[in-house]
Symmetry: D2
């Protein structure tokens, strides 16, 4: 018999962007049923948004804290909550649901400070609840295939990783009140000290760690803000040094005119290189030293990871929403396996968890510190 | 309040491919609820497949005719049925549901013969029910944008359209019993006289008509079968002549080694040209005579059609499943507008209907006839 | 000691295009010295053009017939002549020089009629002189590598070849007197009955034969002229049937808006496919059935043919002029080997000769005939 | 009357690479005649190489110093010399010819030390002789067009420049004696302290300055050597800060597995961005904030700079050799204009001169210094 997980959501009311994406992702593979929500800090919006989604009015909450308590008390209460609020609420909302014994799926970043992040990770462990972080890009089949290739030694020993994440949507000043996403992201009180760094730099950092399987020991960073009056960084460059000798460079910008969502990673080993570009996610380029590039494609590569994360055959492009849905599918597998007291599928272990979130916050803190010290190398 | 349409399905049980895609597409934008099905001609498979989907066992039918009657009799019976069977069943199944007053969403081709197709179109009109055909590729935002550009005269007067659809999955003989899709497609009794022609040639034909807004008056065709023992064509080339002077060429192959799902259309007008490649569906190339190519992208083009059919911003790739879902969303809009006695949104009128299906069957018949006459030009 | 061949030229005076390209190509690898010329049918242009090139005024001829006689009579007379006139002069000029015992390098097409072409081929054989035809595209290293791959069976048995050659420079009517190249090409008296067909269709035809190693036995053709008032075709599509079962399609257009010089060939075998695009000539795509595409690059492929025809390492793009120069270099090798009574290098045998030219004229005649018969299949 | 400049050459004998490229480049547009040379430090190689080139034995020198004196003394002596030796000889050879009153065309880098470089620049000015540096990439038409676009404000105010130059030919250790180029480049005595930095990093630096029209005031650099036993850097990353607020990043590597000669520059302004990739040199991408990318192509862009530097129409690819030849053509124009006491063509002023060479050496010194100081920002 088909079993769908009972899902709740905090944030994601009308006017928000990522909440709708979470709902679509949860729906795509049919592992969840959205049953309860506190969709907005604004009660009226919370109610009307819930109504528009067809939720039971009794489970359309105006307050996340009440929602956590009420749902925990119901026999048919939600089993997992998706947190899609602005950054500064991730930690308090997550804490409320973890304390209520409910699994958490949370947008990155985990938290605004390292202390807060570590405490959440600790709490999740203590409560024996999942704390999954939606680093969407790790849901792409070809990203997972890249990870497998690296782990299998297809590149030889890694020497250099270059990751960049370039957008242009903040290239011009955006007057307050015009774009909800831009508003809170530009407000240090709601998004944290890091602007571009926290918003997309952390995705780039997570992707590099996910594929390379390595974490740097120190970094040098230069944060910059090009748009006058902006209180957080909108552009950054980082150098990374890894314990085993690998070097890295990470660039992110939200003022890179003409770029849509250019997340790209290149890994160079002493045998071959690998290139993945998020904007062409159905392929991966593998090139040996001195040899011909191979264009590996989703649906034609021979890897369990890639095949598991695919829905349609080669040549039928999948995209961002499928990658997002993959995280939801894998999280469902993790939760269901616990309920069924069995080992989850191998692939499901690829979902980023609180531990990765703590690393992301640590990266942010080190980069901010290095930049303040004129790019001096700083332990991470 | 959220209202979901009550959906049924015929075909698409375990081992089938396209049925699962229909279900995912129906789910994506949350306009449907799957409530009843006859998922297989094999009763055991029909039952177990329905169970695996969590359907009410009372509505897991073993026979599509009974399903049509039973559902029509229920007050909460399905409002629309998706037909995802092999080709030879499209017509009888569709007839049963139309006669029961249920809207139909059907895989192409509409029918195996022109007479059958025309009768279905007539029946749908008579019953005042929708008969939507899932020519998926017309659900892509950039295909719709292309159509708008052509209609707005951005290319000038069209001179030449070149469409090709190349795959390699039938490049080698496939032993019977190994691939369910290959089996019935290679069997004239179940797929019709046309192999590659019916399977993908009709998609190419529909795409050319959809974007150009024109229908040819005659064609010359050469059908061929490269793989020994194959009873239907696996390769074809067609020339098209249009009433207004436009010329066309259409190539399709399922033995094009190395090609995954290369559906590509190029339109040349007396001002500019337009290129769309299904394998890179988030972009479109527009090039004036003597000038620079523009890469138009989903999320950045200024067209209602494209924006309506998008879910995520530019740079977040959408793909085949989103295009499929778009058809389902538009069909939902058409049905809902009828229920609500209002005009449907403009975009929803883009869904291919029985009329397009009849044209596809007519194309198949003309091509078969021309090929038998050594490629003589034949009226269409 | 370095030995340069003594070169003459007919055509290519000021205002002409291809003559300068021939001279540059002859100069590039330093195997020739241009010593005599009849650069224009206009005596004043012939003289001033020769002067501008620094030629000895005594060898700046006003008339190609006198030039052939005078040069043949000099002990230091030219050894080879390059013919770069409009098409209708190819045959008479070539005849004059062959009869004078001088090797010929000639632009395609060989001649305006098959009879004329065959007579030239016969004359060259009889005089034991080279008659080389500058089908430039066969000078590209990656075209030669493609030929080697096909010959070595890398594609398996060939099934389908698709070649297209699209330009837009004649998409609009060009008023007479404005563009010298357009003028004579649009004039059947000077360019022959075939417009686009002779100008670029023959290049496409030669390329298909060169790489595939096969010649068709019959064709069906549709020639068309889109621009009002144009006396020759500006657009065409051709189907090809080969003795061994291979099928082909060839499209050429000079009204393909937005296209610059899109010569592309795709060959599909029962093992793999190969794609070459002239506009990206340093690479070649090889893709097995169901597998990953390989991007083979000049400078990194392991073939004598490709390495012989390269001047700079991988990643340093070579282009059209190098391909042209390669023909000149290979012709120099053929002539020098004769002078030195030795076998020429293997690669030099790849230069297209009168025989290929005769085939090109035969292709033109068959296509014109088929088109007049509404695209009926016609022996070639 | 045609006038060719009398050219001499030092370095570039048999076994060398770049000398042959210089000769081909000088020949391509027919502005030079090679008349004298000291092709190798090895007298036998010098003689046999000169013979193979067909030089007058009397002008085949064994020693560059004697050559400078002898040629200066001849009435028909060379007017300009091309220096294509390993790096450590650039300065002494250039000095000898400048002192003899002969113009100099020299490979980069100008010199091994800043003092040496500045002295050469001073000497050239004092002797009123040209000192041209073959930064080949500035000869590309689309690089020049990029420069014009930036200067014309097409990008708005520049914010960020990212330039990278990646190769893999030194990814593995190369045993001494196997590759002449690798040998001297890996030897600090012959190539200077900078390996990859001097060899290709300086090309990247020059390209950024050439297109952006800006010079940085400080940099931070990290040089690294991945291959065990290598005495010079084979990989580097640099951050650049410009007086006007622009930021830059420069990466270069000769161990980037799979990369051939990936020189790429991206410039982001507050209106639009521009991308040029050396491996696809016939095009340039221009993208406004939030808009569609335009693919600008050689032969179709409307700029004097690009048209001047083109030989064949759009769609007929030009490459590295044409870019190299363009520098030679422009240098010929500069010298000829002096001889004819007229202003040279505007385009010819684009040739990099000793001043650019001094900047390159200054860049090297600052990068070495910063790297030694753990990447501290250093004035340049």
């Amino acid at each position: 018999m088909k079993r769908r997980l009972r899902l709740g959501m905090v944030g994601g009311g009308q006017g928000a962007f990522i909440g709708a994406v979470h709902r679509l992702a949860a729906r795509m593979d049919d592992h969840y049923e959205l049953l309860a929500a506190a969709l907005s800090a604004d009660p009226a919006n919370a109610r009307s948004s819930a109504l528009a989604l067809g939720l039971d009015p009794a489970r359309a909450y105006e307050d996340y804290a009440k929602m956590a308590q009420a749902e925990a008390a119901r026999p048919d209460g939600i089993e997992v909550v998706a947190i899609t609020t602005p950054n500064h609420l991730h930690a308090p909302v997550a804490r409320a649901f973890l304390e209520a014994g409910i699994h958490v799926i949370c947008d990155k970043p985990l938290a605004l400070t390292l202390a807060e992040g570590e405490e959440l990770a600790r709490l999740a462990r203590q409560q024996r609840r999942l704390f999954a972080l939606t680093h969407t890009y790790s849901g792409y089949p070809m990203v997972r295939h890249a990870r497998e290739l690296v782990a299998a030694g297809a590149l030889g020993e890694l020497r250099y990783v270059q990751v960049e994440y370039l957008q242009d949507w903040l290239a011009n000043p955006i007057p307050p009140g015009q774009n909800k996403q831009a508003d809170w992201r530009a407000d240090p009180a709601r998004s944290g000290r890091a602007g571009c760094l926290g918003d997309i730099g952390t995705h780039a950092y997570q992707l590099a760690a996910f594929i390379s399987g390595q974490l740097p020991s120190e970094l040098a960073a230069e944060l910059h803000s090009f748009v006058p009056g902006r209180l957080v960084d909108d552009h950054l460059q980082v150098w990374l040094r890894y314990p085993g000798g690998m070097r890295g460079s990470l660039n992110a910008s939200q003022v890179a005119s003409g770029e849509e969502n250019r997340l790209q990673i290149r890994l160079y080993g002493d045998k071959a290189s690998l290139i993945f570009r998020q904007e062409e996610p159905n392929q991966l380029w593998l090139t040996p030293i001195g040899g011909a590039s191979q264009r590996l494609t989703r649906g034609r590569v021979d890897s369990l990871a890639a095949r598991h994360a695919s829905r349609v055959p080669a040549g039928h492009p999948e995209g961002y929403l499928e990658a997002f849905a993959q995280l939801y599918a894998d999280i469902a597998e993790l939760i269901t396996a616990r309920l069924e007291r069995r080992e989850p599928g191998e692939h499901a272990r690829l979902v980023p968890m609180a531990r990765e979130g703590v690393r992301g916050v640590r990266f942010i803190e080190a980069a901010v510190k290095s930049s303040a010290a004129e790019g001096a190398f700083t332990a991470i």
